[in-house]
């Protein structure tokens, strides 16, 4: 395989149902239900998806939700702000483990 990620593959996402229609259909039904307007607006959900796409480091999702955001009129400043929320949680999740490190040091160190 020459490339692990090809942007053209995103269009083929639906094909995962070809090899397991029952689960594929269930997944896509669930997916589209999740993104419908609910207590949160579809716009808010799009921004959450964009931030998670980055924390998950999924190139397909980043392409998809950047485009989705533009289509919804979301500005680049709003997109970047959403990313920082994801980044803050990511770095927070790293740093909060520092407490475990400190606990361990305090236990082991004289």
């Amino acid at each position: 395989m020459s490339n692990y990620y090809d942007d053209k593959d995103l269009r083929k996402f639906g094909k995962i149902s070809d090899w397991n229609e029952t689960l594929g259909t269930k997944f896509f039904d669930y997916y589209s239900e999740v993104f419908k307007e609910g207590k949160l607006t579809a716009r808010e959900k799009s921004l959450i998806a964009l931030a998670v796409a980055h924390t998950e480091q999924c190139p397909y999702c980043i392409d998809a939700y950047t485009k989705d955001g533009l289509q919804r009129g979301i500005t680049k400043e709003e997109m970047m702000e959403a990313l920082h929320v994801g980044a803050a949680i990511k770095s927070g999740a790293t740093l909060v483990h520092g407490v475990q490190m400190m606990n361990k040091v305090n236990k082991l160190d004289l």
Binding site: R11, T41, A42, K67, Q71, R72, G73, T75
Partner: protein
């Protein structure tokens, strides 16, 4: 941001046959994507046929004070095509006798035709139910001689439909040119001050949203909500409806798509979003477009691609509504732009 028209730049894409070559070549010629004809044939919608005429759209000239990046007309200050009084007189005869309920003046900036006011005065006498002028807003603030346009529109009960690509300055100016946002805001405030766009007002003010790049418009209802909230909160501006319109791969938008290497992805996006329900109500089936020199087209896009109506009546001088009804609509791959998602027309979504 474009500075001059493709025509002025002597670009290949100023020629409609070059555009049509691109639209029929590449991914459509090698079978990667299905042609529009093949697509609508599968749902027994080929040939598309004109229904009863509802909207008469007249393009009074390609001259414009703006040079927008996405313009399918390739309009600009350097375009000299302007409708003459002789053609206008022929149009007025048609307007007096048409069965259409809507008259829609467009351009370029229609206000830049020196006979624009005379034409509006004469046309308004015909008593057509809905008389639209597509105003780019900045023209109202472009020169003192246009400052009274809001009063003029009000006097003739003109329905103003104005372009506004975003509620933020950055995205608006990027598509339409520096300073466009501020002038548009001022013009909208002027229109509001005359009663245009106010909740219970009969003076209709609608906005047109075109995406500012190689992507499709989002949901029209959601966009309208966001536009209304932002314009009210930030500038105390009100308007009636938002029309979300898809950019068609024609003229300057086609040039942009190719130059930015987005053409194939954009065509894929249009084809993927194809919606047969939108084909049912696509605007060419109830609209007739008249060019500045009086020729008849199925829509403004076909006008720019120089694809004339498939009818014996090809010019305003041969106008015959009965003859035109039931004609086969002329199609090419650009038509995918009007059938993607919820569809797109000069009046917004159609499905």
């Amino acid at each position: 941001m474009a500075q001059t028209s493709l025509q002025k730049r002597h670009s290949d894409l100023a020629q409609s046959n070059k555009q049509l070559e691109i639209l029929s070549g590449g991914i459509f010629a090698n079978g990667e994507l299905e042609t529009f004809k093949s697509k609508i044939s599968k749902t027994n919608q080929f040939p598309l046929k004109a229904k009863k005429l509802e909207i008469l759209q007249i393009n009074v000239g390609y001259m414009c004070n703006q040079v927008c990046e996405h313009c399918h007309v390739d309009a600009g200050p350097d375009r000299k095509e302007i409708m003459t009084k002789e053609t206008m007189l022929q149009c007025i005869e048609v307007i007096k006798n048409t069965g259409a309920h809507t008259l829609d003046l467009t351009g370029g900036a229609p206000e830049m035709n020196p006979l624009f006011r005379w034409f509006v005065e004469e046309a308004s006498k015909a008593g057509i139910k809905d008389f639209i002028v597509r105003s780019n807003l900045t023209i109202i603030r472009a020169n003192k001689k246009y400052y009274d346009l809001p009063d003029f529109f009000k006097k003739h009960n003109v329905h103003v439909v104005s372009s506004m690509p975003h509620w933020t300055k950055g995205k608006t100016d990027k598509q339409r040119g520096n300073g466009v946002f501020d002038k548009s805001i001022k013009a909208l405030q002027e229109l509001n001050a005359r009663g245009y766009g106010m909740p219970d007002s009969d003076l209709r003010l609608d906005l047109v949203y075109n995406p500012s790049g190689a992507f499709l418009p989002g949901d029209q209802v959601a966009m309208e909500k966001d536009f209304k909230k932002a314009l009210k909160e930030d500038f105390n501006i009100q308007f009636h409806n938002l029309f979300a319109i898809t950019n068609l791969p024609i003229a300057r938008f086609l040039d942009y798509l190719i130059a930015s290497e987005n053409y194939e992805d954009y065509m894929y996006a249009l084809v993927d979003a194809y919606n047969p329900a939108a084909v049912e109500n696509v605007m060419c089936t109830n609209t007739l477009s008249i060019s500045w020199d009086g020729y008849l087209f199925d829509c403004d896009f076909n006008q720019m691609l120089e694809l004339p109506v498939n009818s014996k009546a090809k010019h305003i001088s041969q106008y015959n509504e009965e003859l035109l009804e039931g004609r086969n609509i002329v199609i090419s791959q650009h038509c995918y732009g009007c059938t993607a998602g919820a569809g797109s027309s000069c009046q917004g979504t159609v499905a």
